[in-house]
């Protein structure tokens, strides 16, 4: 029991710390692309601590509850994901379907919390985010289905094991189209440009975050960090062979994240209904082609 | 009383028709009371004969000494007596309704007409002679027309005139048909015609078939021949509606059966076929199916309640004719169940709808609004009636409909397609009945005062309802009635044998 709790805390803290680190590095990276320096790589830690040190308001208990639930949902999802060689529960090594569903708790919690704030901007942002979710889930699910079929298991761990033995065995190489689709879906999942219409700051005042202050915003920050860790982790496990080594695993995640950030650095923003259309066209077609190739 | 006095069933009403005319001079109530008494007697006597027939088989009551095939004689079969009892029951309930009316200068005449109606109906169902049938047919039509035109408003007059035209043309057709039969076979006895119909050439057979068709289809309210129904039903008085919708329909169906199944059809392999080479059964099936569809659609878009009930009656008749056209034991049982259902529930529907609409200016659907609050008893009657009509499970209509489907599906592909179409059409029937029932449940504040209860209506309605419930909930009883009547219908040979007293005819 204590063992499991320790493992649990390890996974939670790893995800938060690595996620914040990735965020900081990502900010640094994109600053370099834009030819300026940014704050230090640990800037995100400072931000989070500052946010938790601020006073804050909430409008009602649902807002408190929702924000916590949002964060808890992402953390709970990470518990099911294999982090390199590490699994919290040895018998459930990353059931991808459970993971996809658990991610929704995070969205639901956050959405509920900010909707309870009663600000229409927040709700518009949520509406956009949910619509966008309808877009990127399709290509993502198609790639998931492909890998489940290919490995005859819905466990991420099994997928990782099947990819061992050199990077030619990676699913990214075996199923390049699906990988591409997953990458585009990842861009949408992380809400990076060109798919960031839900947090358009000058249009809808940063959307869902509009009423979040102090630790509530801190939770949002942490959730985003954990989400970065989680989603890059899933793709790494699915396509880039995972790893038996923590550092290689993190490095792969970081590389993936930086790729995402780099893409976001050079793209403007899609209208979100166009984004949904795009998701249903290009990446879905890629994933479907890969699936059909696989089935044939 | 033996079965030989069966003529009383015809004679008593006829006698009373004259008597009531005379006695009516003294007191206008007397004819009404006489009417109820006579009908009670007739009902009792017919049921007595029914028990007699069920034990002894088909009986022939010879009149004036001429043994069949000569002369006029009455043939008592289980089937005819069963329908006759049913008809008496309905006329009884209608006359109870009639009795409840205030007396006026018309009362005596109407009573006479009702006696005439009773006599004609009895004659139609009992006679074994085709020309006699024609005569009663005409009297029956005359009685019907006069009853329809009682109300003397435009609709009723127009309706009765339409009826008159159609039935006159029809009777001319019938006369031609009878003439053809007499000219070729030289006999008028139904049994003998049935026995020797195969001797006719196919062309003659077809001619007779067409003539009969033209004669009877307007009576059975079948679509292209039934243009009188809406105006007549809508214009007629309440008890006339009951008579038209239930008693006349049953009588018409009986004539239809005698003309087409005792005369033209002959049973092979547990099924009636027709001797003429075009498949006459299919023609009847087709016409009846079309009739069902058209009447259902007509009813669906009607607003006047009586018109809806009229169309519904036509569609039910279509269904029964369809069951006849399948013409095996199962379908005849189904048809019988449907006949029971049609006559009883249609009478209840007409009766209760009249009471529910009482006081409303327009006799349309809207006048049903809030009926349950205003008039709970008759609303309940109406609901029971229409549930049975649309085939709520474990009512007569349900049994009838289900067994109709069962027999049609097992008959042949053609019939199963048609029955499918008919079922689709009867979904429309469900729709408009439920629309009416729904209106009853609508509660509106300004309609809540209760209407005065008419005890005669209630008595007659509950009499019919009781019979219906007994039939639905006493399985053994209904089963025996239906199966022996259907067996009687199937058994043409016994009919001929018994009438012609010739055991060796096979």
């Amino acid at each position: 029991m204590v063992n499991i709790m320790l493992r649990f805390l390890f996974a939670a803290f790893t995800s938060i710390i690595m996620g914040l680190l990735f965020m900081g590095i990502g900010r640094k990276f994109i600053a370099r692309i834009r030819r300026h320096y940014a704050g230090p790589f640990y800037q995100s830690f400072i931000d989070v601590i500052k946010l938790f040190s601020k006073k804050s308001i909430s409008h009602n208990w649902i807002m408190d509850f929702g924000v916590m639930m949002g964060f808890a949902g992402i953390i709970a999802t990470i518990i099911f994901m294999p982090i390199g060689p590490f699994n919290v529960f040895s018998q459930m090594q990353g059931n991808i379907i459970i993971i996809i569903y658990f991610m929704t708790i995070g969205y639901l919690g956050m959405a509920m919390g900010v909707a309870a704030s009663g600000n229409p901007n927040a709700t518009i942002g949520i509406a956009r985010a949910l619509t966008l979710m309808l877009g990127y889930e399709i290509p993502f699910v198609l790639t998931v289905i492909l890998l489940v079929f290919a490995n005859n298991s819905s466990l991420l761990q099994v997928m990782v094991v099947n990819q061992q033995g050199g990077f030619m065995e990676w699913n990214a190489i075996r199923y390049p189209f699906a990988f591409l689709a997953a990458l585009i879906a990842l861009q949408g999942m992380l809400g990076e440009q060109p798919f960031d219409a839900m947090i358009a700051p000058s249009e809808i005042a940063s959307g869902p975050m509009v009423e979040l202050s102090g630790k509530f915003l801190g939770f949002g920050f942490l959730q985003h960090a954990a989400q970065i860790f989680l989603e890059t982790g899933i793709i790494v496990n699915m396509f880039l062979g995972g790893s038996q080594n923590f550092f290689i695993f993190f490095a792969k995640q970081l590389a993936l994240y930086l790729l995402t950030v780099a893409v976001s650095g050079i793209f403007p923003r899609y209208r979100f209904e166009d984004a949904v259309k795009f998701f249903w066209m290009a990446p879905t077609a890629l994933a479907a082609i890969q699936l059909i190739i696989f089935i044939i | 009383m033996s079965y030989n006095s069966a003529i009383l069933l015809i004679a008593a009403p006829l006698l009373m028709a004259f008597l009531s005319f005379i006695l009516g001079i003294f007191n206008k109530r007397i004819p009404a009371i006489l009417l109820v008494l006579t009908l009670s007697f007739n009902f009792y006597f017919s049921t007595y004969l029914l028990t007699l027939v069920s034990s002894k088989g088909v009986l022939v009551s010879v009149i004036s000494g001429f043994e069949p095939p000569f002369g006029i004689n009455l043939v008592l079969t289980y089937f005819s007596l069963l329908l006759l009892s049913l008809i008496y029951l309905i006329i009884l309930s209608a006359s109870v309704v009639f009795v409840s009316k205030k007396t006026d200068e018309n009362t005596v005449k109407v009573a006479t007409l009702l006696f005439l109606f009773t006599a004609a109906a009895s004659g139609l169902l009992l006679t074994g002679d085709i020309f006699n049938m024609f005569v009663f047919f005409e009297i029956f039509a005359v009685a019907n027309i006069s009853l329809i035109s009682l109300k003397k408003n435009k609709t009723s007059l127009k309706g009765s005139f339409k009826y008159l035209l159609l039935s006159s043309i029809g009777s001319a057709f019938l006369l031609f048909g009878i003439g053809m039969i007499y000219g070729t076979l030289g006999t008028l006895n139904i049994a003998e015609i049935g026995l020797r119909f195969y001797e006719l050439s196919p062309l003659t057979g077809a001619f007779i078939f067409i003539m009969f068709l033209g004669a009877i289809l307007s009576e059975t309210e079948t679509f292209p021949f039934n243009f009188w129904i809406t105006d007549s039903y809508k214009g007629a008085r309440n008890f006339v509606n009951i008579l038209l919708g239930s008693a006349s329909s049953v009588a018409a169906l009986y004539i239809f059966f005698r003309l087409f199944f005792t005369i033209i059809g002959y049973p092979i392999n547990n099924r009636y076929e027709f001797l003429i080479s075009m498949d006459a059964r299919l023609i009847i099936a087709l016409i009846s199916a079309i009739s069902v569809i058209v009447s259902e659609i007509g009813a669906l878009s009607s607003k006047s309640v009586k018109r809806i009930l009229a169309f519904s009656s036509a569609s039910q008749m279509g269904m029964i004719l369809f069951a006849f056209s399948i013409s095996d034991f199962n379908s005849f049982s189904a048809a019988l169940t449907l006949i029971f259902n049609l006559s009883l529930s249609k009478a209840i529907l007409f009766l209760s709808s009249h009471e529910i609409m009482k006081g409303a200016k327009e006799k349309n659907i809207e006048s049903f609004t809030g009926g349950l609050g205003r008039n709970p008893v008759f609303s309940a009657l109406f609901i029971f009636g229409s549930l049975s009509m649309v085939g709520f499970p474990l009512t007569l209509g349900f049994y009838g409909k289900i067994s109709l489907v069962a027999s049609a599906v097992s008959a042949s592909g053609y019939f199963s397609i048609l029955v499918f179409v008919i079922l689709l059409a009867s979904a429309a029937e469900l729709f408009y009945y439920f629309r009416l029932m729904h209106k009853l449940f609508v509660s509106e504040q300004n309609h809540t005062e209760k209407t005065k209860m008419n005890w005669f209506y209630a008595a007659s309605g509950s009499l019919l309802l009781a019979v219906m419930i007994i039939l639905a909930l006493m399985p053994k009883f209904t089963e025996r009635i239906v199966s022996s009547a259907a067996g009687d219908m199937m058994d043409k040979t016994t009919y001929i044998e018994r009438v012609l007293k010739a055991e060796d005819l096979k």
Binding site: R35, D47, K50 | -
Partner: protein
């Protein structure tokens, strides 16, 4: 006048430690009424690169720590500024840009422009100039950071302590124009 001196309400203890993080992560909300707004983009972008200090623009007052008043304030906009300021969460700071919020600047005799912002809300730092150059702005930011680290940038506490006083001042100036505002409404 102000009832409490800065020393009495200085941050102490745990707050001093947290102040280290606060100064490193100043999220700002700029209230762009005047010409000062023009100077902010160069300050933010790669030439002067404000993000080095962990500063960044924020969308709503709820998220921000720092309110920038970039130029003159009319009476009508003062009301909005005060509303926005009160929506911000503590700790929070205000920086006034240029001479207009200090003494009215070129609008010193305007009927509709307030002359001295500090009367209505606690200004932690004023950057002089008309308008201040980005260098001066950066300089101002670093000064504020130092003040935060020392725990001396406590304008929000002043506002809380002297709430009645500030409110009275605000009411005075707002009532001066209320006749006009009512008509407008």
């Amino acid at each position: 006048m102000l009832l409490t001196s800065t020393n009495e309400i200085k941050d102490n203890g745990m707050e001093r430690i947290l102040n280290f993080f606060r100064k490193k992560s100043l999220w700002m909300l700029h209230y762009c009424t005047g010409c000062g707004a023009v100077e902010l983009p160069p300050t933010m972008t790669s030439r002067w690169d404000m993000e080095r200090f962990g500063m960044g623009p924020m969308a709503t007052p709820r998220q921000a720590d720092l309110l920038l008043i970039t130029g003159y304030l009319s009476v009508k906009s003062l009301k909005r500024v005060i509303y926005t300021y009160e929506q911000m969460q503590e700790p929070k700071w205000v920086i006034a840009f240029g001479s207009c919020p200090i003494n009215g600047g070129i609008y010193y005799d305007s009927y509709s422009v307030i002359n001295r912002l500090a009367l209505y809300m606690p200004v932690d730092l004023s950057i002089e100039g008309c308008m201040p150059r980005p260098e001066a702005i950066i300089d101002g930011f670093t000064k504020l950071m130092k003040a935060i680290e020392k725990g001396e940038a406590v304008g929000y506490k002043k506002y809380r302590e002297n709430y009645e006083w500030y409110k009275a001042n605000q009411r005075n100036v707002l009532e001066r124009t209320s006749a006009v505002l009512k008509e407008e409404a």
